[in-house]
């Protein structure tokens, strides 16, 4: 799923410009880091892709569809093809690990047996099968992040959005999470990940998009980040 930003500006009330005239194109199967200081517009860029917010000006197109023109009723169907991992995990606190992951398939009326098989697969993939009956508040930050990744993987999405997925994690846990993301990308899934972790960016040398005060100041293949 390719992503195109054409002259995208996003302002918030009263007068905060989060993104200004951003133009970029991400091809299917790419792994892209979105870097920049806190408040540079990284999360805004990702939230525009997931259609949590709409651009104030310009066009955000994903898979050829202008997200602004997308009917509200079609948004859930679009999101089922976008795996989302947020910094604050966004897990449903009243559900167990298993239920959180199964939920995304249940919304698509997937039969119970298939839900059970697929849920087992993705939980095992992130190494949390033994913790499947626990609720998010009984897990560590790294484990919660892995649950969020498993949930994002459940629907086999074409696009994977990760907003600072390693932000709350120690070095080793962050490395584990990155391994999972690289393996997802290796399977042909487009991954867009925001981070300000220099080690991660510099050790993998992927495409880097750098934002500063809402402006795109660098778009470099095999780039690094010095913060």
């Amino acid at each position: 799923m390719n992503i195109t930003f054409s002259d995208v500006t996003k302002t918030f009330e009263p007068d905060i410009t989060a993104l200004s005239d951003v133009n970029l194109n991400i091809e299917q199967g790419e792994f892209v880091y979105v870097v920049g200081q806190t408040g540079s517009g990284k999360s805004t860029l990702l939230r525009l892709i997931t259609r949590e917010i709409l651009p104030s000006a310009g066009v955000v197109a994903v898979g050829g569809y202008d997200l602004r023109r997308m009917r509200r009723a079609d948004v859930p169907y679009y999101r089922r093809d976008v795996g989302l991992v947020a910094q604050d995990f966004k897990l449903i606190p009243s559900l167990t690990v298993y239920e959180n992951i199964a939920f995304v398939m249940e919304t698509m009326s997937v039969p119970k047996k298939i839900v059970a098989e697929r849920t087992k697969d993705v939980i095992s993939q992130v190494g949390l099968w033994r913790r499947r009956f626990m609720r998010p508040n009984q897990l560590s930050g790294g484990e919660q992040q892995r649950v969020a990744i498993a949930r994002a993987l459940a629907n086999s999405p074409s696009l994977f959005i990760a907003d600072e997925p390693t932000g709350n994690l120690d070095f080793h846990t962050a490395a584990d999470v990155m391994k999972i993301l690289f393996s997802i990308n290796a399977a042909g899934v487009t991954v867009v990940m925001s981070t300000h972790n220099q080690n991660i960016v510099n050790s993998s040398r992927r495409r880097v998009i750098e934002l500063e005060n809402g402006k795109l100041i660098r778009d470099e293949k095999g780039g690094t980040y010095t913060g």
Partner: protein, 298 residues
Amino acid sequence: MTTLRYILRDMWRLVVHHWVLGLLTLITAGVMMWILGVTTLFSLNLENLLSRLESELVVQAYLVKDNTLDIEKTAAKIQALEYVYAMKIYSPADSLAKLQEKMGSQSRALDMLGENPIPYNFEIHVHRAEDVEHLVDELNAMPEVDDVVYAGLVVKRISALSRISSRIALVMFILSVIITALVVYNTIHISLYSRREEIGIMYLVGATRAYIATPFVLEGTLLSLLGAVIAAAGIMGAYFPGVTLIQSNLPFLRNSIITDRAVIFRFCALLAGFGATLGWVCSYIIVARFINSITKPE
């Protein structure tokens, strides 16, 4: 079918998760539905009693004593009046015989009168008590009519009672509906508000608005329906012993009270259906508004 199973499970999760609030809603909805049912039943019985009294109300119109008067023509003229429901003609001889029968052993006093003093007269029945006054005015305006006799005060009281009882029933009905609606609305609102973050997440990971909303709507409908069923069961259980008690203490009301079990059963079924509908409407409105606001992109 799979979706329905998931939705029903989610609804059950909601009910269990907010069981204290649910129980309070159930009790309040039950009490309000019971009040609604009892008020309506009381009103129906009162209406029954009043319509019986009204059917027994009679206006007696006495014609002028004039041998040239065409009785048939006058009868047709009166029959054509708007408020006349039924009419019976009494000749002077019939009227005297009726009077004698009423007076029993004292009827000999009538013989002292010599000539029969009673003119041709009509016994007229009306549809409603409030029609009597209008009918009397119209009869008095007719030159053929000499005198009109009716139970004026009784008519006024029955009319007033009928009006008041209808108004009280209407007010009680509206109040019960509003209170039940507010309680269900509030419960679902609290249920939604306490899970607003979850709802946002559900929408973010691909749940449709209908999928998110349906368990909440079903929760409100279920609580309201159960409240109404409890109220209906309470009414069914208390109504017939109450009727027996009233009939033994106030025998003159015997024929004015609804005693048909099928009618009461249908009424209770209707009450349960009304409860479920009310719960569904309230829940639907609040859920639609809440989910719309929470899923709207900035």
